[in-house]
Symmetry: C2
Subunit: 177 residues, 2 copies
């Protein structure tokens, strides 16, 4: 951030009065710019004994497999964001069952919500965001070709919890790759 | 947002190629600005049969009572944000027990995390953010002077769940005041 988006003056980085952290501030119009973590919302869609994964068509990690998920938009709930992303990335309509993994990823300033979801019919397809969309049994999961640690964790939790038949909320903090 | 914070050119609002929503975009350097919901994190501190509330010293809702909570910063986890805010607003150190209320507040683009917390000692005090900090029994809660609907909900859930001795995650979406 170099210029004030309100008045185009060059930005200064300083600790505002009453604050404790350096912020991007405008010396002309006094606007203070706060940068906060973003929410990524998605789901783990289950059909029978299989889960739905998407092969990423977009950087980062093009060609690696992920769960359908993406940035939450203004004006929506976390559930709506998860449903929208699943539709956009996998052309799939799911029913969200419960919030399943909640991960603070401190080094990239993200908080990721993954809902456990029921895919009622095996209807899905690739999209502008996914090169391929496919159902995988536990034995078929491409563990070495997963896009992100959070996705690895969610799948590990799922196949473990499935044996118990219970899917408690899993809270994780990741502090590096 | 009027000017590009990268090159100070006047911003245009348009749907970028491959996107579906209008974004603030720079016609000169092609930077796209995304605006996403922010996370508010805090806790419901319990000491014996009482809960700790803070009387707000900062707008909005100065003079009204709230739970200690505030914007999550980059580089921290949701738990760390809740602990920091409790220290800043109430000068209190708590132990977080579990995530308790999770509220999407769509009209203000926020997702609020409130953790159930144990206040091990009755040590707390007012701060630059709180005019007064005080323990309240259920009978003493100033229901008509609470700052926000989310705080009202969290306290209602708490006193109801306390009768059962169980505090499941409560997920709510608020779409207006």
């Amino acid at each position: 951030m170099k210029f004030c988006s309100n008045c185009a003056t060059e930005i200064e980085v300083k600790i505002p009065e009453g604050d404790s952290l350096p912020r991007h501030t405008c010396p002309a119009c006094d606007t203070i710019y706060y940068h906060n973590p973003k929410i990524v919302a998605g789901c783990l869609p289950v059909y029978g004994d299989k889960v739905l994964l998407c092969k990423r068509a977009i950087e980062p990690r093009v060609g690696y497999w992920t769960l359908p998920a993406g940035y939450m938009e203004n004006g929506e709930s976390t559930e709506e964001a998860a449903l929208r992303e699943t539709l956009e990335e996998a052309n799939a309509t799911v029913n969200l069952l419960s919030l399943y993994t909640l991960t603070s990823i401190t080094h990239v300033n993200q908080v990721q919500f993954i809902y456990l979801a029921d895919l009622p019919e095996p209807k899905f397809s690739s999209s502008s965001e996914s090169l391929e969309v496919k159902l995988f049994s536990e034995e078929e999961i491409p563990w070495d070709d997963l896009a992100f640690k959070t996705i690895h964790n969610a799948l590990k939790f799922y196949f473990s919890d499935r044996k118990e038949g219970q899917f408690p909320l899993r809270e994780v903090t990741l502090r590096g790759n």
